[in-house]
Symmetry: C2
Subunit: 181 residues, 2 copies
């Protein structure tokens, strides 16, 4: 999966780059590790933000954080901090020699979206490599929905409130697509 | 639901009080709001910690945070910062005049735990009020498992790694118990 910090929308629908949230590095690395993902990419074009994320990664991976908390070190092994989706594909192609199927996620209903069941079936069928895109801020920019091979239906709660944190949405989506029942 | 900061275990199994994480206030308020919960309790016996959490709540509820982000204000309405479970029950009894069924959650397998399906059925049957307990640190202390009316089975990922953040576990559990499919 990839957590996108650009291009995403702000509260007014403008395309912006968001700042990295420290806990997104931790929570989503642990989530990726729990559900057996191959990689967790944090994507931002802002060099200073990548440096910050890299320092946090290195602390838990190579610094004393790794010996203090080996489970955290284990999870952080999946994290890659990259500039854009081109770097993601380079990393994946180098390792897997396969085309990558992009899946966009978001809180809004969009026409042609795949249901969780349909997506789960496709994953279980095998032979394809999926990259799930999660948007920070107010969600992925339209260009990523246009570019994606599939759009996944939104997670619905009990009513109309659809403002889950991206960390919570990602957890629920991983469970729905990959969780054991 | 209640997020417990005492009594919980530390990495060595000792019973401790943990510090409040700012993002737990935000993420779990939004989660509670999404899944139609009645309240989200943050439980800590440490007065300074309650003051801190209260200041954050007030900022998003009554301060300029509320006008900047009305969706966040909406979610924070469910948050109550309390000292212990006695205060939780007082608040619930005052509002609902019913006994509360305590449900403990954790990452370890425990004998007699209810499956998600069993718990979902009980909730849908109605007539009962459930309080789900989530542990910070290395999980709820044994005394809370002893005290609970039910223990919920753990969330399982793809393998043996069972170190989900409490925020992610709570999101998955709410979705499994209350989510629309």
């Amino acid at each position: 999966m990839a957590l996108i910090h650009y291009p995403v929308c702000d509260r007014n629908g403008r395309v912006v780059a968001t700042a990295i949230t420290n806990l997104d590095l931790h929570d989503m690395s642990r989530l990726a590790r729990t559900f057996g993902l191959y990689r967790y990419y944090v994507v931002t074009p802002v060099a200073e933000q990548r440096d910050l994320a890299e320092r946090i990664r290195a602390h838990w991976q190579e610094g004393w954080g790794g010996s203090y908390n080996p489970d955290r070190k284990d999870a952080f092994q999946l994290l890659r901090v990259v500039s854009d989706l081109v770097e993601v594909i380079e990393d994946l192609d180098g390792c897997q020699e396969k085309r990558v199927t992009f899946v966009a996620t978001g809180a809004k209903e969009r026409s042609g979206a795949l249901s969780f069941e349909q997506m789960r079936d496709r994953i279980q069928r095998g032979g394809e490599h999926f990259l799930l895109l999660f948007g920070t801020g107010w969600g992925l920019a339209d260009e990523l929905f246009d570019r994606a091979d599939y759009i996944l239906e939104p997670v619905k709660g009990a009513g109309d409130y659809n403002h889950l944190p991206v960390r919570a949405a990602a957890a629920i989506i991983m469970d729905r697509l990959l969780g054991r029942r």
